[in-house]
Amino acid sequence: MATVRTITLPHYPSYPIHICMFRDVTNAAFLRSQLLEANPDFDYAFLDPSMILSPSHLLGGTFLALHASLLSRAKTRTPHSELVFRLHPNNNIGEAYRKFGISDSSTAIIAVKLGLGPEVTNERVSQHLGEHVQGESVNVGEEAERVGDWCDVGKVRKVYKLENPKKKGGKKGAQINGVGKEVDERREMESVILGMITLKGS
Amino acid sequence: MIAIGLEGSANKIGIGVISHPSSNKPPIVLANLRHTFISPPGEGFLPKDTAIHHRAWVVRLIKQAVQQAGAKVSDVDVICYTKGPGMGPPLQSVALAARTISLLWNKPLVGVNHCVGHIEMGRAITHAQNPVVLYVSGGNTQVIAYSQQRYRIFGETMDIAIGNCIDRFARTLMIPNDPFPGYNVEQYAKRGKNLVDLPYTVKGMDVSFSGILAAADLLAGQISDDVSYGKRLKSEEGDLITKEDLCFSLQETIFAMLVEITERAMAHVGTSQVLVVGGVGSNERLQDMMGLMARDRGGSGFATDERFCIDNGIMIAHAGLLEYQTGVTTSLEDSTCTQRFRTDEVFVGWRD
């Protein structure tokens, strides 16, 4: 059994989001092969935790993917592939999988399962992932707040082409209001990223 | 009290006689005559020719109006004329006529702002209490709301007037000017069905039409039979775009702009009434759109028919008489006219 956190997005209460985090994973190659074979039993979004900045980052992409799928506007095959696609700043699906998906050598994984039907329950997801992911399941917290813990902020910044505020000699950012207020870097990044993924493709 | 009104700021000369019965009874229209100078298709009306037209008709119309009103000259209390805004030569012709009868009959003069004439007539006819007014004609495009003794302009065109835009497009398509180009464009538009993309230029509460006219003129060049089939303008379904489609697209676009800025003004001043005045206000599609918007805001749209929304003498008589009743007259020396005369320059002494 894996520790699965089930979250409901405001406004989409009938579609719970099941989130699970693993470390020391040894069979990433197997999981990836199941995705490539489009095995219906492995309909998950397997994400690289180093690319996930925060819960809102993950949930923002999830909301957009779910919304697009429910309105039949998805650009990819499944709602889960749509999630991987939505996280990426441009429209290249392969690139999205390379950047946000897992590789054969991944040792850490965030697994997301959208509750699109009544058969998808916390228990079933927990059981299935526990059986097939070889690694240690980690508690993501009440509100999945630990989802951003393994983030590589530099990598994320690069993918979204965000400038590093520290390199700007303090001219921008918090300085504009005249107060040398310390900015929460991650929060600033998250704010921009949510906007970028919302705007993408339009 | 009885007033005679002389209007001639553009290509119509209008003579009206109105009576304001004592107390709060509604005004009575005793006569409302008009004659329009119509230029050939593809041409607009030139100021000089228009002035000649007005001079030729003014005496005849005044005589006829007084006769129709069943009034004696001695019954008339005041002579009202359009001071502006409008085209110089036709304004001058009519102001001259007003001065002449003022001296002949020994009656006071009141110079009236043409736009205020439209607004007051619209209010009188529709009984709209305090509406946001959309004033749309060949020379004007304004969104107006009353506040503290002035009709204040909330939004307006930044370049040409909407009626001018429609008239000029009619010329491009060689649509006849009789009875007036806007009417014919409206009939064409009723038969159009394909919406062609045109620029949409709203900035705050202001609008601009010159870019749209230029774009529409360009498109008009692509629907002519002289153009080879392959290069003809087509709809997404592959239908050939017609004159009717272009008229339809032009109307849908520019009217939507007008309704949008009007709605913004209504939200700003917090009213749900809207009144459309001016010649373009006779367009049924514009009236429908305005009504839909007003209903959506829980209010209602008001408009007058072509007797009152197209330039006429009765509105000048009515607004002039309202002003006269507050004790204002225009002395002979001051009885000039002016091409530029903003709506908000008039002190509205007759409203609370």
Partner: protein
């Protein structure tokens, strides 16, 4: 769009079901329902609601541009989409450049909605109104004639305000606020954006918040009832309650300035557009109170120093003032 058959036959004669005129019907776009929305404003353009997004503890603003029935459906879609996108693009651009504006959290252009970060605090308009109110009382106490009061307001208000230590602090706080406003507008213009509707109601003084790391802990934005009052156009309350946890260190003028409502914003570097932004703001200040003009001078001073080219915008502002917004038109 539903297609209605204009020529209905006698057999299927049903009275047309038109919505009652006083109750405009706006079906909310999926996934929103009225149950979890609180109406903030019903403008001409958009319906604005308060709700939550992504997590139940993340307050946000939902902006919905309902279809305009009067517009041709194709034109309506085109405009709604273009405007929402323009607004979202400007906001993201601003955030990228480090400006204080609401973040874009989500949106759907086809359906006509946009979700923005909630900004807690008060509008600058509310701050000014409160200041005028306080000062008005103070001036009236010792004065007899209306004229004297007026002159006092026009000329010597700063001295009068500065009579007491408390007032001194208030004055400094106000000046700091004006400086922040000037710099914020300057920064906006510098990055090539003009707001298009820069009134004091579209400037927020954001309540200071406690530091938190993204992804941890309780709600991130402070929620303020002041905001709702300001947005719905009600009079601001006279006493401004301060966040309880922060009573010690926070006076009501602390915080940073956030620009909101970019519905009419454009990406432009034209001096004229920039000058008009300032002109609109100036009029909003003077509409609050004639005395607020003094404060606005400080806004302009800081604006002038905020970026290269700001000085020429100030020169252009003088032209715009003279001309007014309205031109004399040929009839």
């Amino acid at each position: 769009m539903s297609t209605t058959n204009m020529a209905s036959t006698a057999s299927d004669a049903q009275p047309p079901t038109t919505p009652p005129p006083t109750q405009p019907l706006h079906a909310l776009p999926q996934p929103f329902t009225t149950s979890n929305l609180e109406v903030l404003t019903q403008g001409a353009e958009a319906l604005v609601y308060k709700t939550t997004f992504l997590t139940p503890s993340t307050p946000c603003v939902l902006k919905y541009r309902p279809p305009k029935l009067y517009r041709h459906p194709i034109l309506d879609k085109r405009l709604t989409k273009a405007r929402l996108l323009a607004e979202a693009r400007v906001l993201v651009k601003c955030r990228r450049e480090g400006l204080s504006v609401p973040a874009v959290l989500g949106g759907d252009w086809e359906s006509g909605w946009l979700v923005l970060e909630w900004i807690g605090g008060r509008t600058v308009r509310a701050v000014l109104d409160e200041w005028v109110h306080k000062f008005g009382l103070r001036a009236r106490d010792g004065k007899t004639s209306e004229e004297e009061v007026k002159r006092e307001l026009d000329e010597g208000l700063m001295e009068v305000v500065a009579e007491e230590k408390e007032s001194q602090e208030a004055r400094e706080g106000l000046m700091r606020l004006m400086q922040m406003v000037g710099r914020a507008v300057g920064k906006l213009h510098e990055i090539g954006v003009c707001h298009g509707d820069l009134t004091t109601s579209n400037l927020m003084l954001r309540t200071p918040e406690r530091k938190e790391v993204v992804g941890r802990g309780p709600p991130r934005m402070t929620v303020s009832a002041q905001r709702e009052a300001a947005m719905s156009g009600q009079d601001p309350p006279e006493v401004i309650p301060v966040q309880q946890e922060e009573t010690k260190e926070t006076n009501s003028l602390e915080g940073d300035v956030v620009m909101i409502d970019f519905g009419l914003a454009t990406q432009t570097i034209h001096e004229e557009d920039r000058a008009v932004d300032l002109y609109v703001l100036e009029r909003a200040f003077t509409a609050t109170h004639p005395a607020a003009e003094h404060l606005f001078q400080e806004v302009l001073r800081c604006y002038g120093e905020s970026f290269k080219g700001a000085k020429t915008v100030l020169k252009r502002l003088a032209d715009v003032r003279l001309r007014g917004r309205k031109r004399t038109m040929i009839g």
